[in-house]
């Protein structure tokens, strides 16, 4: 089952252009977006992968 289907409480979202705490981040791989869940910095794709 894809985790993205579960209701999640997101503590924060850090993406290359959405971090309000730091200057715009020019990541080598612009496609890489990150999501912070319960303090864990995850790839968005982590939540879309069904590894069960």
């Amino acid at each position: 089952m894809a985790l993205a289907a579960q209701p999640l409480v997101l503590n924060g979202l850090i993406t290359p252009d959405q971090s309000s705490q730091s200057p715009a981040i020019s990541l080598p791989q612009q496609q890489a977006d990150y999501i912070v869940v319960g303090g864990w910095t995850l790839l968005k794709s982590d939540l879309l992968t069904d590894e069960s």
Binding site: I14, Q21, S22, I25, S26, Q29, A32, Y34, V36, G39
Partner: protein, 490 residues
């Protein structure tokens, strides 16, 4: 020759004169004495303590802490007997990156290393490695790795056994024809000539109170960051503000390396974590981009089995139950940290920028020799917080993107509004008599000579204008060898 000053009751020492008199027989003082002796100079090497640890000597270091961590380590980080703090040194060796020698915007107007420091220092890398028994070219033998990061690289480092200077060098010094090693020899005053621009003699007392005068052409203090500041501030009979303190710089810019616990991680790339001592250092590009300091981030994964006793076996079983149960794991890990295999904690060694308000002063209490004790007010700055948070946030992203690990950061890393409450330290005391071209910015010049005093020098990490992001001992040895080479030519 070896002399226990506690057993000298006459004035025979006043008849002697040396080329150099060095206060402090830790790694810096011993290395300098050996270098000068090799170059044909005579040296009086003064150790305040004995050959072994004694409470009587260690107690001299006792001080107060008003700053971060209520830092009791001011008393116990360093050891006050022959061999100094090498007697409990961990042995990890690294060196400054080129960027660490630059005058960086990060320093907010404080001066950095004088031009040419990098080249001058690194001439002595191999000799410094030999002193602490690091095999030749160890730094080139980094583990082969498939790590392909963008903002971080694997840290370069090597390990000393660690070398205990007391054990390794005592017999050599006892036999030396050039070096007289004095123990229980405590520097209690520096007397200047009438013009107040040169040292006349060191006043040195044993623990029984007997005072001796040590005369030399040149004098060096190699007593560590807090003790060197303590001595210079206390010696105020001729210069009311203390020696070398005409611009109120002695004791200022005390620096440590922050040891912040960033949080926890789970391993994805097990192959990479099989390498021992996995550590990451920020790239120059990254440091420049965010205007942050240097660092080492240490990923300590729980991958090895341990030898437990009965009680520990019980705890282990309970832990395994927790770790192996997906449901329990998810719930329990929100409340406590378990050493589950494949998990780990992230510690760090992080540069602190020079900060005028992070300083050592004297308090009213006096030590055995009547010298006022130190008060440490160790302070972090907003620039330090910025370094800590950027390092944490970006290593978490980079290890996720490269499929190496997933990191759970502490709240104070993720949220600027939560104060950092975990400024740990490494017992790396630096600054307090910083090197500067302009006397207004420091205490010693580019040759480590005290500004305004013709024949007084300071050796050791107290002269670092900035601390970089690496363990300081190898840098200290390289600098000391360079100082010895310079002094021998005077």
């Amino acid at each position: 020759m070896f002399i226990d000053l506690n057993s000298v009751s006459n004035n025979s020492i006043e008849a002697k004169s040396y080329d150099f008199c060095i206060c402090g027989a830790g790694p810096s003082g011993i290395t300098l004495a050996r270098k000068l002796a090799t170059l044909g100079k005579t040296v009086a090497l003064l150790e305040g303590g004995a050959l072994e640890y004694t409470e009587e000597s260690q107690e001299i270091y006792r001080g107060q802490s008003l700053g971060l961590n209520n830092w009791e380590a001011i008393t116990n980080c360093r050891l006050r007997y022959f061999g100094g703090t090498s007697n409990h040194w961990g042995g990890r060796c690294s060196f400054f990156d080129k960027i660490d020698f630059e005058q960086r915007e990060l320093f907010a107007g404080m001066s950095g290393w004088p031009a040419g420091s990098h080249q001058k220092m690194f001439k002595h890398l191999q000799d410094a490695c030999e002193i602490v028994d690091i095999p030749r070219d160890s730094f080139k033998a980094l583990p082969k790795s498939h790590w392909k990061g963008d903002f971080f690289r694997l840290s370069e480092r090597a390990f000393s056994p660690p070398t205990r200077f007391r054990t390794k060098y005592i017999e050599e010094l006892k036999r030396s024809e050039k070096i007289d090693l004095y123990i229980n020899a405590n520097l209690t005053d520096i007397r200047l000539h009438d013009a107040l621009s040169a040292v006349s003699y060191f006043e040195v007392k044993n623990f029984h109170g007997k005072a001796h005068k040590f005369s030399a052409k040149h004098y060096v203090i190699a007593a560590g960051a807090s003790e060197t500041a303590k001595l210079l501030l206390n010696f105020n009979k001729q210069l009311p503000q203390g020696i070398g303190n005409q611009h109120d710089m002695v004791g200022r810019c005390f620096m440590e390396h922050f040891n912040v616990n960033f949080g926890n991680f789970v391993v994805e790339d097990h192959l990479l974590f099989k390498e021992p001592d996995l550590q990451f250092t920020p790239s120059e590009t990254f440091m420049r981009k965010f205007n942050i300091g240097n660092a080492v981030l240490d990923f300590d994964a729980n991958v090895r089995a341990r030898d437990f006793g009965r009680l520990k076996e019980l705890k282990k079983s309970a832990r395994e139950f927790v770790c192996q149960s997906e449901t329990m794991t998810n719930i329990a890990r929100n409340f406590a940290e378990f050493d589950c295999e494949g998990d780990g904690v992230i510690s760090s060694l992080i540069e602190q920028v020079p900060n005028m308000n992070s300083r050592i002063t004297l308090n009213a209490e006096k030590d055995h020799f009547g010298l006022r004790r130190v008060t440490l007010n160790w302070q972090a700055s907003p620039a330090d917080d910025m370094t800590i948070r950027h390092l944490g946030r970006e290593i978490a992203k980079e290890l996720a993107r490269t499929k190496v690990a997933r990191i759970k950061l502490k709240d104070f890393i993720l949220d600027d509004n939560i104060p950092i409450d975990d400024y740990g330290h490494h017992c790396h005391q630096m600054g307090t008599t910083r090197m500067s071209i302009d006397p207004k910015n420091g205490v010693v010049d580019a040759n480590q000579k005290v500004h305004g005093i013709d024949n007084l020098y300071i050796a050791g990490a107290s002269v670092y204008p900035t601390g970089g992001g690496c363990n300081p001992t190898l840098t200290l040895l390289m600098m000391t060898l360079g100082l010895g080479e310079y002094l021998a030519k005077l």
